[in-house]
């Protein structure tokens, strides 16, 4: 006993001694383990806090105050700014315009991008040339796009109306009719963004396992069937991503409608004024009212969240309702695993086909 009892202290002593001597290093080592992971990931969160969260919250703060662009902060007014914004019919018109332009651009855009990507994914001659080609419109500056299309869609002297009259149709009032102006603006948006989305789809398509197509071919699926039953379900996460980003971009649309005429206010009846343009006009235009502009910014933010959520749910349903017809889904059902997502199924056929 007497021999044993002092032993643990002696065994501990040198450890304690070293601990005391290496205290700083040890503590550093402890911190290294505990803190450095956070430091490693900190740049993103710091950046997000500075450029994302702070402006968001500060905008909310501004939106409940009277705030002039030059005069600065005024009194706290609660939700008056929001009420004022809703009381302006232009705001509701701007929301309508935004959704109309968004629908006219995003829907055809995603469909066209998907089709283009499928074509580019095929075994084409001069592949890289075509692939770079579709991205070309994207690197054209939006201002240049605005100028070029502004010229094309001029009411009297524009090329588009000249073509329409050539084939015996009535010229369209690109700047006088509401829906027509939206189509013209959507064309500009599609011109710029279709190629960009095409390349994203193309990248995702190239990651689809070849075995799936082989299996589909063996099952007697034609090209079209392969596309709808293999490619589309396999692209589901990418489609959702593209739809969400297109939603955000589409609802924030500003450049193209602003450049559609010289004043940049959506025409005399605000026929193509979008919410972002309206916000700009309220903040920096004649009203110079930052409080109201901030309120619009927050409303736009909320609208985008709601629409993105709806889109997310809808696009999930579209892609899943497709997948039961898909080869991957059939294989998955065979193993009795009905609840799996197609993304998870992707690995399965690979092994299955290896076994055969």
């Amino acid at each position: 006993m007497s021999v044993i009892t002092p032993r643990p202290p002696t065994a501990q002593r040198p450890r304690e001694a070293t601990a005391r001597r290496m205290g700083f290093r040890q503590r550093m080592g402890r911190w290294d383990v505990k803190v450095s992971p956070y430091l490693y990931i900190s740049p993103f969160f710091i950046l997000f806090a500075v450029v994302g969260a702070f402006p968001l919250l500060y905008t909310a703060f501004v939106s409940v105050h009277e705030w002039n662009l030059l005069g600065g902060q005024g009194e706290f007014v609660g939700l008056t700014n929001y009420r004022d914004v809703f009381a302006q019919p232009t705001f509701l018109k701007a929301i309508g315009n935004t959704f109309s332009i968004f629908a006219l651009s995003s829907v055809p855009q995603v469909i066209a991008a998907l089709a283009l990507a499928a074509v580019l994914n095929a075994n084409l001659r001069a592949k890289t040339f075509w692939r770079m080609g579709v991205l070309l419109p994207f690197i054209v500056a939006p201002v240049a796009v605005g100028l070029i299309f502004g010229r094309l869609f001029a009411d009297d002297s524009g090329l588009v109306n000249a073509l329409l009259t050539q084939v015996g149709l009535e010229p369209l009032g690109w700047h006088s009719d509401r829906l027509t102006s939206h189509i013209a603006i959507a064309t500009m948006v599609n011109f710029r963004w279709t190629g960009y989305n095409t390349l994203i789809f193309l990248a995702a398509m190239q990651a689809v396992p070849q075995e799936l197509y082989e299996a589909a071919i063996i099952d007697g699926a034609g090209r079209l069937r392969q596309f709808f039953s293999v490619t589309v379900p396999q692209l589901r996460p990418t489609i959702i991503f593209v739809i969400i980003t297109a939603t955000i971009g589409g609802l924030q649309i500003f450049d193209e409608p602003r450049l559609f005429d010289d004043q940049g206010l959506g025409g005399p009846s605000r026929n193509w004024m979008t919410v972002a343009m309206y916000m700009y006009d309220v903040g920096w235009g004649n009203q110079k009212n930052f409080g109201r502009a901030a309120a619009i910014a927050w409303l736009l933010f909320l609208i985008i969240i709601v629409v993105a959520l709806v889109n997310f749910l809808v696009s999930r349903r579209i892609a899943t309702s497709d997948s039961p017809r898909g080869a991957a889904r059939l294989l998955a059902r065979g193993s009795g695993d009905a609840g799996r997502t197609p993304a998870a199924d992707a690995t399965r056929p690979t092994t299955a086909s290896k076994e055969t």
Binding site: S36, L39, I46, L69, G71, G158
Partner: protein
Amino acid sequence: MRRRTRALVATAGLCGLALTAACGGGDAGSGETGSTTDGGSGEGEQITLTVATFNDFGYTEELLAQYTAEHPNVVVEHVLAARAEDARANLTTNLASGGEGLSDIEAIEVDWLAELLQYPDYFTDLSDPAVEGRWLESKVAAATTEDGRLLGYGTDVGPQAICYRSDLFAAAGLPTDRAEVAELLGGADATWDDYFEVGRQFVGASDSAWYDSAVSIYQGMINQVEFAYEEGDGTPVGLTNPEVREAYDAVLSASTDDGLSAGFEQWQEDWTAGFQNNAFATMLCPAWMQGPIAGNAAEVEGWDIADVFPGGGGNWGGSYLTVPAGGEHVEEAQALAEWLTSPEIQVQAFGNAGTFPSQVDAYENPDLTGATNEFFNDAPVGEIFASRSLAVDELGFLPYKGPNYFAIHQTVQDAILRVDVTGEQNAEDSWAAAEQAVADLGL
């Protein structure tokens, strides 16, 4: 080895933490202070002054180098914005954010003067006995606050004349000589009714329209109303002023009922193309409009300028140079602004860019009075616009443009566009919509 990695990690982490504060912002402040010791009023000390303008003020590099030749310690840097709107957005945003990033001299257009006059503390009071009597009275009055502070030195003015196509006039059987045309339109007592009446004669004998845009004509008319949308103290009266309604009705009945308007919106594609298609025969043209007409109507022969303007004088546009109060070299900047707006330099600028001087003495300068414009059939533009400029002063006032002027003015412009350009509505409905738009402004 391990220690080094750890040090690197620590540095990287700190950098991440301090990303916005330290790791990039270090040299932002030190860059300029190195060459310009503080205070900045001593002789022989090297300083750089920045001048922010837009479009084309005629401040060429040679002209600015001239200043450095006279003041060896000052280098002038020119910051140029393509459009006045860009300069305006830049200026207001920088003022709103505390003056960081402003140039030593900021040019502003007469259009956004009123909104800035509300915040005189942002600008240096430039009143100085040395510049008294230099400008047209109206030019100085517009930039002076109620308590007598002068916020800007006038550069150019936009006295309006009538530009016309002598070839189209000839084809329609009207006189073509610029003096005869001035008489035809009423000479010194020209009225808008005269102008419209000749227009009706013209369109009866020609395929072209009489003028380019109803908004432009309305603008010309409203610039002769002293208090269009606001009372003298800035209280907005909306669209209740009968003079506004009269002008609106007169313009629209002439434009659509009589077909005098080509139905364009200025600066739009169709308007630009209209110059090449003989779409219209006359235009209200302020001095600075010579450039755009010559550019748009390249190769078209027959443009000329008549020394006449319906309803007396009319001014459209013109600019000022201001010195923001927070600058480092306020005194030197004021000296430079004074130099840039001196009559001799302004005449040079007129030669460079066609910006018509607002300085009284410049009107006797032979370089100005003798100036002609080859494109406009060698019209003596110096003489014509000097005479037009004096007509503006004879009007006795410049239209009052308070803080709400443009918001209300825009609703009427939109209303006219809806009738004249897009044809969406008739004059009566469009007016009602404009009244609604004014109500929406919540003034």
